[in-house]
């Protein structure tokens, strides 16, 4: 895989390059101290992978991603994961690496990139956006300056609570500063359903339905009158 490194810090570029040299399949074809120079390079050159520092002065990594028309795969490099969260909105962000990058984590990110690349070529991976199943298996939420990965399939309930949403999974609950509308866009429609203006449920986790409520795990969730037909339609009734 041909890759480029974009980082305003020479130390960081040297470290990333050294790590790349330890992986046979990676070739660093160019490195840039700012994103503008990289944009010029990409006008005439194709690359498979970009190591991109998010936090750069004047033109940030995020500005760079927004500007690029054709996105190769990108691994973000950052000292602060909170800078990576917005960038994860983009399909081609494969992973992010916290600086200083250690080889074991680097290797993992490269494996993930190879899988992602293969899947994109085959068009069969769940991590590749499909017209009717526009979702990934997981997403990240920002809680107390940490990016926490949440497995979509383990979520059973999401409840709006003021400016926050509570995401309930089989293992843990998370309070995230977001809206139901925002998270609804990230969820696969065949699995999740908004049953009330404050609740989204995972329909596979329903225990039973009674009148205008649903028992899901141990939570009783109200179902609004307008959403009840949608819910009934989704059930596999005998």
């Amino acid at each position: 895989m041909n890759c480029i490194i974009i980082d305003d810090e020479q130390t960081a570029r040297f470290i990333t390059k050294t790590l790349c040299e330890q992986i046979e399949t990676l070739q660093v074809v160019a490195e840039f101290p700012d994103a503008i120079q990289a944009l010029k390079y990409l006008k005439t050159n194709d690359v498979d992978l970009i190591f991109l520092d998010i936090h750069m002065p004047n033109f940030t990594g995020l500005d760079f991603i927004k500007t690029l028309k054709k996105l190769p795969q990108i691994i973000l490099t950052t000292s602060d994961p909170k800078f990576a969260i917005e960038a994860f909105e983009y399909d081609n962000i494969v992973d992010y690496l916290l600086k200083p990058i250690v080889f074991s984590r680097f290797e993992k990110a490269i494996k993930k990139t190879v899988q992602h690349k293969n899947a994109m070529e085959l068009g069969t991976s769940s991590t590749v956006r499909k017209p009717d199943a526009d979702f990934k298996n997981d997403f990240y939420v920002n809680i107390d300056r940490r990016l926490i990965k949440i497995d979509l399939l383990r979520i059973y309930l999401i409840q709006a609570k003021g400016d926050y949403i509570q995401i309930k999974t089989e293992d843990q609950n998370y309070m995230v500063h977001s809206t139901l509308k925002k998270i609804e866009e990230k969820l696969p429609k065949d699995l999740f359903l908004k049953v009330h203006r404050s609740f989204i449920i995972n329909i596979k986790k329903i225990v039973h339905i009674e009148d205008n409520s649903v028992l899901i795990q141990k939570d009783i969730v109200p179902v609004s009158r307008s959403n009840r037909p949608k819910l009934m339609k989704r059930l596999d009734l005998l």
């Binding site: 810090e9 130390t11 960081a12 040297f14 936090h55 002065p57 000292s79 602060d80 200083p100 080889f103």
Partner: protein, 105 residues
Amino acid sequence: MEKPNLSYVDALSSGEALVKNKLIEIIKSEFVLEKSAYYKSLKNKNFKALEANVHKLKHKISILGFVKRYQLANDYEHNLRECQLTGAADFEKTLTAITAYLKTI
């Protein structure tokens, strides 16, 4: 105060002296520039630039094995975002420690 070390540099270079020496050389030269840029921004009370300077220096702090000092620098960076200089003294102590350490390697 924590003692700096070269564990990360050693692990990255996997015993290759050429790589290790090159990385140390880059850290040394870049650190001088970044430190100078930091004090210039401080003099001008340019908080946005200060935040960027600290952000960059943080990487060197962690490369040199300062775990607690890195956290303090992180807090300082967040304070700078609020235009507060709380944590400056601690951060500058770290810069002094790094300056002294880099002279020994």
